[in-house]
Symmetry: C2
Subunit: 360 residues, 2 copies
């Protein structure tokens, strides 16, 4: 704390990302990264004499990338906004749409960055409790609000909200912007992009960090009515005119254009997730049905989730544990390769068998 | 305008960056890019199997890069903060330090992004007029304030403020954070880094976009007392945990470690600037003495700056013209290669000789 700090810096509780430990031989299942590398086209795109051109500023509008995203989603490019990660795009959306007289609504169990943006930008919030089965409980979103945001599938539960429910939410809240944060949509979920033409209050946010294996490149994007896109552009151009560097623009363009590779990786992750869910269930875990590249799994009754996470760590397998009400009985496991998941299952089998090792 | 926009989006006037036209054979002297490519080490650093690793998140703390910046500046790494361009770092500094009860002071003629950040973050400002000779007029900064920021050398004048004056400013305003924006310091100016140990209220911001020829990579950084750095970290971790992608971290680290290449490029730019200044003066231009990689030049009395800029553009040479009081009689010319500047001088010679071509 310092006399030089502004009020918001004094009071804010920053987001804490999953760790990025640099340990040899680690099985890293804590930050939902893709177990497969990005498309080989990404490597090609970046190695071709791009470096010489780095002395020039990048295209501030990321035109080629936005066009490629638009093509993939059958939209006009004026419906697409790109930024330095979906976290940044979300932050910009909070400034652009949610600084209102009425509170922002989002689930009580959700992506941990939302309340942080609200603190940073002085946005009042109402946290809407998830239903007992961890579904959104959409009826509770029929209250005065200055915006709504939720991830679909939700994080960290992995549970999907169906399009019919989202459509109901959009028509119930026509005066507010509804942001559907689809970071994990490509692993079997149904995107709300299909609703964009009908609902001018819908903004869909996606990322290259998960399904396109470019977490290290930091590229995210939003899709919505051009009037919403214009608002995001205005915030962007008041903060950093060129948020995406030249290499990131090229890499992401190459990644989204390689549809076959992308679909292959997603299929593999989905298959591994389904197999892992079965094996976890067979071990006595209670697994929330996931449409994401992670699963939330509650250990058998005799074991504490926190201890299981620690015992896995002792075996060089890192999963994520959230010390928060309602989810503190679960561990969140990112879906790795089949081989990594076999080692996880073997480790969990050992842990379960060792009497008293992770007792509640 | 839309009912969905927040108040700040409705009212803000976004920054307008210099254009990035994609025209064959253009001599681009409008955005102060380096005429020389980045260090060859940058290419090496990025080509070495970095792409495979892009599926992982980058180091959120940019540790290696911050260490390299610290080494170059003879500081501990706890004195260094890195971000996605110095624009982003400046925006974060505005949030961290300048959201105060008292107004922020900055020059009336200065970097155009400052007033935009103030609008975005609701910061009250007092614009302090430059003196007649375009110097900062430091005596006027002795008024109640919640912070001070200015570029050194100033942009777009190129004029340097000497360290003695900066030191006076720091001790006169010990209760405020003073940000010295040194985007152009490496072209012959004297950095305020030397004052960091003595003044805990000093933050120095620099960029890789100019002297290190990495405008396309978007890397900027701040140096200051660890208490100030902590405030920036808190803002960063409330907005985007990983603002710098893996490639950018590697590229910038390689660039700052190649000291010999960097110094060679800076020497060439300085030599070209001095030669250009002489030639412009010989043609009747009034040139503000510059310590940056650009010069502000007022055409001979019979010519209007705006017309000169247009006539250069007709000849495929782009310079920057600011339609603002006190600087609208100047064109701002980025320093290119010797060859590019010869073509500029030849074009200006033609323009001056053609009677009435660019009359006031």
């Amino acid at each position: 704390m310092s006399k030089y700090w502004s009020e918001v810096v004094r009071t804010i509780e920053p987001y804490v990302p999953g760790e990025q430990p640099q340990v040899e031989g680690l099985i890293k299942l804590n930050t939902n990264e893709n177990p497969y590398p990005p498309s080989p086209r990404v490597v090609q795109a970046v190695s071709e004499d791009v470096m010489e051109r780095l002395r020039f500023y990048p295209d501030p509008n990321a035109t080629e990338l936005r066009r490629a995203i638009a093509r993939y989603n059958h939209l006009d490019e004026s419906w697409v906004f790109a930024g330095n990660s979906s976290d940044e795009v979300l932050a910009q959306a909070f400034m652009a749409f949610f600084q209102q007289d009425k509170p922002l609504l989002f689930p009580d169990i959700t992506y941990g960055f939302y309340p942080v943006y609200c603190q940073l930008f002085g946005i009042e919030t109402v946290k809407v409790p998830l239903a007992q089965d961890y579904s959104l409980g959409l009826a509770q979103y029929r209250q005065p609000n200055g915006g709504i945001i939720f991830p679909n599938p939700n994080a960290p539960t992995g549970l999907e909200t169906c399009l019919d429910d989202i459509e109901q939410l959009l028509s119930d809240n026509a005066e507010s912007v509804v942001v559907v944060d689809e970071a994990y949509i490509d692993f079997g979920g149904t995107s709300a992009v299909a609703l964009l033409e009908q609902y001018e209050n819908l903004l869909v946010v996606q990322t290259f960090s998960k399904s396109r294996a470019l977490a290290g490149m930091r590229v995210g994007f939003a899709m919505g009515n051009p009037v919403l896109i214009e608002a995001l552009e205005r915030v962007k151009n008041s903060f950093n005119s060129y948020p995406l560097d030249s290499v990131a623009q090229l890499a992401a363009t190459a990644a989204i254009e390689d549809v076959a590779y992308f679909e292959g990786c997603c299929r593999k992750v989905i298959a591994t997730r389904e197999a892992t869910t079965e094996q976890l269930t067979a071990l006595g875990f209670d697994v929330i049905p996931s449409k994401a590249n992670f699963v939330m799994a509650k250990p058998p009754a005799s074991l504490a989730a926190k201890s299981v996470a620690q015992l896995l760590r002792n075996r060089k397998i890192i999963v994520r544990y959230f010390d928060k009400p309602r989810i503190d009985e679960y561990i969140r496991i990112s879906i790795g390769t089949d081989d990594q998941m076999q080692r996880l299952i073997a480790a969990l089998t050992e842990i379960i068998k060792a009497p008293g090792s992770a007792a509640q």
